[in-house]
């Protein structure tokens, strides 16, 4: 399983776009990039998954450059309720185990 590196914490303000970058230099050819969100006192929740280029859903966008050694989770117009820990994970997308890194603690201020 490829190791990931993310900033420990980030701060932003309501209404701003937030971009969280994850480094995964040892990503394998068949690996996907997946992001999870965890609120206090809850289990993590799947946000988005991608393999290359750009993926967008109703919650976020995921940008993956051609070399796939990094990825950026983009949250448009954040609100206070987006305050959470965001985890970047890399794996082959099968139903096998996933290993969580340290995550990025995002704090949104009014």
């Amino acid at each position: 399983l490829a190791k990931t590196t993310q900033p420990i914490s980030m701060d932003s303000y309501e209404g701003q776009e937030v971009n969280i970058t994850c480094s995964h230099n040892n990503i394998a050819t068949n690996d996907y990039i997946t992001w999870y969100q965890q609120f206090p006192s809850q289990g993590p929740r799947f946000i988005i998954q991608g393999y290359k280029t750009k993926v967008t859903n109703e919650v976020a966008s995921l940008f993956i450059p051609a070399d796939r050694k990094s990825s950026t989770l983009s949250l448009p117009r954040v609100s206070l309720s987006d305050t959470a820990v965001y985890y970047c994970l890399v794996g082959d997308g099968s139903a096998s185990k996933i290993i969580f890194g340290s995550g990025t603690r995002l704090s949104i201020r009014p």
């Binding site: 809850q42 993590p44 799947f46 998954q49 820990v85 997308g93 096998s96 290993i99 969580f100």
Partner: protein
């Protein structure tokens, strides 16, 4: 999506005792996972539980301390044995499900050992 429930939601236990945590899923799933999360920390995978076979434990976790049962495709239990205060943590179960094989997590069991 898969809906997961856990029992108990929280417990306070005395050292030396054991606690069994139950995890129930509303769909049949092949693989279930047990994690531990200490306050302010990330999740640590304890083991993977497949129905009909022995659980596979991660480094640092052993069956004698964390026995796991997986009697069918919708249920699993994790026992925390001979507890010490260092076992105080949140224990979460999860399953792989859906289009992306994303993991769905239960609400967690908050364990405090005195």
């Amino acid at each position: 999506s898969a809906v997961i429930s856990q029992k108990p939601s929280r417990d306070i236990c005395q050292r030396g005792t054991s606690l069994t945590i139950q995890c129930q899923v509303d769909s049949q799933v092949t693989m279930m996972f047990w994690y531990r999360q200490q306050p302010g920390q990330s999740l640590t995978l304890i083991a993977t539980a497949n129905q009909g076979s022995e659980a596979t434990y991660e480094s640092g976790f052993v069956i004698d301390k964390f026995p796991i049962s997986r009697p069918n495709l919708t249920f699993s239990t994790l026992t925390v044995s001979n507890m010490s205060p260092e076992d105080s943590s949140i224990y979460l179960c999860s399953v792989s499900y859906g289009r992306y094989n994303e993991q769905f997590f239960g609400p967690g069991t908050r364990l405090t050992v005195l």
